[in-house]
Symmetry: C2
Subunit: 401 residues, 2 copies
Amino acid sequence: MKTDPDFIPSGGVTSPGGFTAGATSAGVKNKDKRRPDLGILLSEAPCAAAAVFTTNKVKAAPVLLDMARLKKGTARAVVMNSGCANACTGAKGTADAIEMAELAARHAGVKPEDMLVASTGVIGMMLPMDRIRAAMPRIKLTADGGHDLARAIMTTDTVPKEAAVKGDGFIIGGMLKGSGMIHPDMATLLCFLTTDAPVDISFLQRALRRAVDVSFNMLSIDGDGSTNDMALILASGAAGGKTIAQGTPRAPAFQRALNKLCIYLAREAARDGEGATKLIEVKVSGAKSQQDARLAAREVVGSALVKAAVHGSDPNWGRVLAAAGRSGAAVAAEKMELYLGDNRVVKNGSPVEFDKQKVVKYLDGKEVLIALDLHLGRGAATAWGCDLSEEYVKINAEYTT
Amino acid sequence: MKTDPDFIPSGGVTSPGGFTAGATSAGVKNKDKRRPDLGILLSEAPCAAAAVFTTNKVKAAPVLLDMARLKKGTARAVVMNSGCANACTGAKGTADAIEMAELAARHAGVKPEDMLVASTGVIGMMLPMDRIRAAMPRIKLTADGGHDLARAIMTTDTVPKEAAVKGDGFIIGGMLKGSGMIHPDMATLLCFLTTDAPVDISFLQRALRRAVDVSFNMLSIDGDGSTNDMALILASGAAGGKTIAQGTPRAPAFQRALNKLCIYLAREAARDGEGATKLIEVKVSGAKSQQDARLAAREVVGSALVKAAVHGSDPNWGRVLAAAGRSGAAVAAEKMELYLGDNRVVKNGSPVEFDKQKVVKYLDGKEVLIALDLHLGRGAATAWGCDLSEEYVKINAEYTT
């Protein structure tokens, strides 16, 4: 996908003009095991800001703080840490989130109310505020600091996930941390997006929600939605030009670029899911409605049994049909048609002869496409996920200990 | 639980009077790897019959056949096989299910329309009818054949699951195969129940649904609902006495005994879940409503991250609160109280000091109780599941191959 000419080589959140970033090692999770875990993203200019947050009723302190601060629709910076989620931490957690924002605001030279906060890591652990106070002044904000920041928000991620795309006179950059506790309809994961485009606040919010719907909301790694999820975009307007708003000439180009970037990041998150060895893409077509297509695609990509079968390169396609059947989408068993890559394995809901060796070899690849045609209508949707490996269990059986 | 005096030692489906059963090896899945995989459960007398079926829209041929045959509310026998689900098998699958019932009816000496069919195993594989035709006459129906039959329906189950309880002048027996593709609200798994009590058909259906609601519908092994699930009860009336119907004196005792048996079997299914090393029991109390308690209990027990944490004896309780928060139940983060066994780890939604070594030792046990008090009302519910182990992945990555 990065061969797409719209992608900027080695792009990220500091690719758009006017953004700086930096990170340092605070020792949030373990004071003796230093890795980058605290950082700041800053815009030189005031930004229109929009976000989508977790729908979990248990929301982390930084999420609640940001929801309040974003009511005004503007912001200039985000301070973020990995290693501790600052969730289920009561009044002390709220005070810590506020102080962390203040420390970062002072360091970056912005007003506290323009500083947002994001945390990710272990739930139910207090932020080590002494270490955060000590580390904050060490953060150096630079015009190519986005790469360091993308590393600082990683938890069980094995690679940083970042990219930037060019639009019609503007750039949108983004970075994401994913890995575990990821499921659709929760906004999922932490994703920070920046753009130098001048964007109307209400259009920015709508465009972000649309992009999230076709990207992160179609991503499932383990069915667990987190307390800390957010996708946030800051639009500085530094690139100049007319403001992009609903109905303006550049609105479609902005939406296209944003969707492209978010889908790219969602796929990278799926590929780097905890323990993942393969990216799974599920395309459902022929659904009665688009909503049905979304339901079926997400249920298939989220099925533990489908994920385990893909892991073992086992063409156990019955599990795909069973998952579609319980998804809530309208299905007619006798109409379903299923492909694994180019290999048709089911027609009219019944098995067809296929070259098993060829299909097993296909499933051995790094990207597996499952294409299900329900033959009931014109609804279509795509979802992304990863295989379920022994490694996922190992990672999550030993997370806090 | 089997120390409960109501349980009959070594009880099963042939414990109630008037039931016989038997099984043989047909080589359904693999003609060269013989294990018991075909059997019949028979009542000497006509029975009131009730069942709860999978809600999956992709239903196996035997499920559709039984739904039609049970409209009359009576039946005498069930023929069952493991190794092949006869699901997603089209018109041929339907014809095979009908023929399998006919072969069994002839062998058992009952009318074809009184013979039900159940299959479990790989989806999308045709029944090897030649082997089933050859094997059927070898089934010997005996008064203690329930144990052989319980073995014949095992797939990845490692132990047969069966029991019988004494009620007020009657016995209820049951057996179950569980293991994988198991999730609430689907009727889940295959469960066959027998009783010599005389029971009114409409009460029998209602009592079964109630028992399933507090047992199998509170059981989650991997979140995957199958195409073949059913819970079926046959009531022969052989024990005599007045018919048990809604509002009659023995109705509460019948319901109690049925609930007790179904909960016992659900717990055994959880304990023997694919790859399971521990039984997890989640008790939610203080919910705003019983429905909320059910939602929260099932979400917690079904969380891959909670399951993995229990597997690793990791007291990562934040995952429990996060699961409750996304369950749809009303929760107030600052009110939640959580116990792991006797150890309180959260009060008012915030961590409390606890003896980590003691909790880890508790989590090392074979049964783990997670008790969450939402402190919002009087709703309570219990759900069962198992830990997520590397073995689960191994089993399901290599199922058909």
